[in-house]
């Protein structure tokens, strides 16, 4: 038996292909939306992977350092370092800000990492050119997405830094590229106040007799020195020894240091379930709407194509064609339209993904799922047309 659907498609292939391309662009948008969500999750996981930490120690009762502000003193690191099961501990600061790059602004996450010894958690990984920060001050490592090149000068707040290395895929959970500074430089950038604020603070200290007792100026000087200090970090990243259990080490830190500690699994949950949960729901809504729109379009197209062939269908039925042969013809056309649409959509999504400002990750598993969904939608959408075809009375082929 010949393929009636195939012949019909070949007969009007131009119209069919154009319709498929239109549908494909819609499917491309749908795949891209899924890719945006996957990109957000991947950014979050890249952030955790690249930090190379097993545990995140943060300010007590906060979801820091990524989902909530967190601040703890730098010297909390030393007692943690001494605990059983801890291999390394290093303070780290995170500050998302706009920095100037030529005539434009670039949104970056400034990361202050302890560069005291190589391989500490929080230091930049995936270095693709240049070197790590080796000087105590005024050197930076930037992700290529910032657009900076080695040797460029970057101004962060009051100081300028020379880019000495470039990384790839070092991004925040929001997809902003990272700019690494030494911990001291980053603390200064994050916590140091401007000169006017310092002058006003000193004036307030001078007028307070408890902080500036008459005849003892050393007290006021000591207070001013403390106020100007930048000894805070946003988190302490901890790696554990191979034989240690992360939950046990985390429990010990919580108990003895009275700080909040997250394991990798808990931090992943915070990032994916809490930080990007709203965005994920937003995207899920878009996916649902786009799927409904796609289904409505396929249903409308297939229905219109079927209604345009009512007389032929009546003749086919009159001369003895089974309902299931006609239904199969319509279903094949719907599936054909879906196949063309999916191929066009996949190609389109792959072509335009690199031009999105944020990372769009098109996973093969999502493509397979998308293909199955498209075929399912096309099958459901063809039911309306099949219903119409089944209702056609063969008597319509005979006049009267």
């Amino acid at each position: 038996m010949i393929s009636l659907a195939g012949r019909d498609i070949l007969h009007g292939w131009g119209k069919f292909v154009l319709t498929g391309v239109g549908l494909g662009l819609l499917i491309g948008v749908t795949l891209s939306m899924a890719g945006v969500y996957r990109g957000m999750v991947d950014d979050a996981q890249a952030l955790l992977d690249n930090s190379r930490a097993d545990l995140w120690v943060v300010q007590k009762d906060t979801l820091g350092p990524y989902a909530e502000p967190s601040s703890l003193t730098e010297d909390s690191e030393r007692p943690i370092q001494a605990m059983r099961g801890v291999a390394q501990a290093a303070g780290v600061t995170y500050l998302t800000m706009q920095i100037a790059h030529g005539d434009k602004d670039v949104r970056v996450m400034v990361v202050g990492a302890d560069m005291g010894e190589p391989g500490l958690p929080g230091q930049p990984t995936h270095l693709i050119s240049g070197r790590q920060i080796v000087r105590g001050h005024y050197e930076a490592v930037a992700d290529v997405k910032t657009g900076f090149a080695i040797g460029d000068r970057v101004r962060v707040r009051r100081n300028s830094y020379t880019v000495v290395g470039l990384t790839s895929r070092m991004v925040s959970s929001g997809g902003d590229p990272m700019l690494f500074l030494s911990l001291k430089d980053a603390q200064a950038a994050q916590f140091q106040r401007d000169s006017d604020a310092i002058v006003r603070q000193r004036a307030r200290t001078a007028t307070n007799p408890q902080l500036n007792p008459p005849g003892n100026p050393a007290v006021a000087q000591a207070v001013n020195a403390v106020q100007a200090g930048n000894a805070n970090v946003n988190a302490i990243l901890v790696t554990i020894t191979p034989d240690a259990n992360p939950d046990d080490v985390a429990a010990a830190i919580r108990r003895w240091q009275r700080l909040t500690v997250y394991t990798r699994a808990e931090m992943e949950e915070i990032l994916v379930q809490k930080l990007i949960a709203n965005s994920a729901r937003q995207i899920a809504m878009f996916l649902v709407i786009l799927s409904i729109v796609s289904a409505a379009i396929v249903a409308f197209i297939i229905y219109t194509m079927t209604i345009g062939k009512i007389r032929e269908i009546a003749v086919l039925k009159l001369i003895g064609t089974r309902n299931r042969t006609i239904s199969w013809m319509i279903l094949q056309q719907a599936l054909g339209l879906g196949l063309i649409g999916f191929i066009v959509g996949k190609i389109a999504a792959s072509l335009w993904a690199p031009f999105f400002p944020k990372y769009v990750l098109l996973l093969p598993s999502d493509s397979i799922l998308g293909f199955v969904a498209v075929m399912l939608i096309c099958t459901l959408a063809s039911f309306l047309a099949i219903q119409a075809a089944i209702k056609v009375d063969p008597a319509e082929a005979i006049g009267g």
Binding site: H11, L318, G320, T321, A395, G400
Partner: protein, 230 residues
């Protein structure tokens, strides 16, 4: 001569009670194998209803219908699969050819044997042979839109004949054709009826072809009146 179609007291009533419409009030008709008869009548006289009943598209209210040796209706369908009955025992020719626009001429004709389960190659050979016999073999690869009206009607005739049905029902097959072509089509149907031993009923209004029928049935108010012609 053996009978191809026999209708006995066929009645078709639409609706019931006071609003009932009596489309056929007891039609009797007999067409022999190899014979072509005309069926004429004014609009609303019941011609199309008769064709639909005979074509197993609508069910008569009562009566008896026999095609060849098989009784297909006797106050109820005697055949379970009406679709197969239409495919294997009845050929249809319409006012317009109604060829399937996305199939070429050969496949338009070969579709019926294919639907009946014949292999594609065999069905296409049957179609080409029949198209040759109807003088449209040279257009076998063309699409319906590339044919003239006369050629399209010949292809429609080939489609009606391809399964060698004992009966062909033709609903105003010459309506879109000019006089000469209309006569040619009737002549062709006459030849085919004899060649394939098929009983053909042609419903027509066409004054040009009416004199060509050896036998003519007139239908009026749902009843048939046979008129013999010389």
């Amino acid at each position: 001569m053996a009978e191809g179609i026999i209708l006995e007291n066929v009645v078709k009533t639409y609706g019931s009670g006071e609003t009932a419409v009596h489309a056929l009030r007891g039609v009797d008709m007999a067409v022999a194998k190899g014979e072509v008869v005309g069926l004429i009548g004014p609009s609303g006289s019941g011609k199309s209803t008769l064709l639909k009943c005979l074509g197993a598209v609508i069910e008569p209210t009562s009566g008896k219908m026999t095609i060849g040796d098989q009784c297909i209706y006797d106050n109820g369908w005697k055949v379970r699969d009406l679709r197969a009955l239409r495919r294997d025992m009845i050929g249809f020719i319409f006012q317009a050819p109604y060829l399937i626009p996305f199939l070429d001429v050969t496949d338009n004709v070969a579709l019926l044997p294919m639907l009946a389960g014949k292999p594609n190659a065999e069905a296409r050979k049957m179609a080409r042979d029949l198209l040759d016999a109807l003088d449209v073999g040279h257009r076998a690869a063309a699409m319906p839109s590339q044919l003239s009206g006369g050629e399209q009607q010949r292809v429609a005739i080939a489609r009606a004949l391809i399964n060698r049905p004992p009966v062909i029902l033709a609903d105003e097959p010459t309506a879109p054709l000019d006089g000469q072509r209309a006569l040619a089509v009737v002549g062709l149907l006459d030849d085919m009826a004899r060649q394939f031993d098929t009983a053909i009923i042609i419903v027509t209004h066409d004054e040009k072809i009416i004199p060509t029928f050896k036998r003519l049935y007139k239908i009026r108010d749902g009843r048939t009146v046979q008129e013999l012609q010389g």
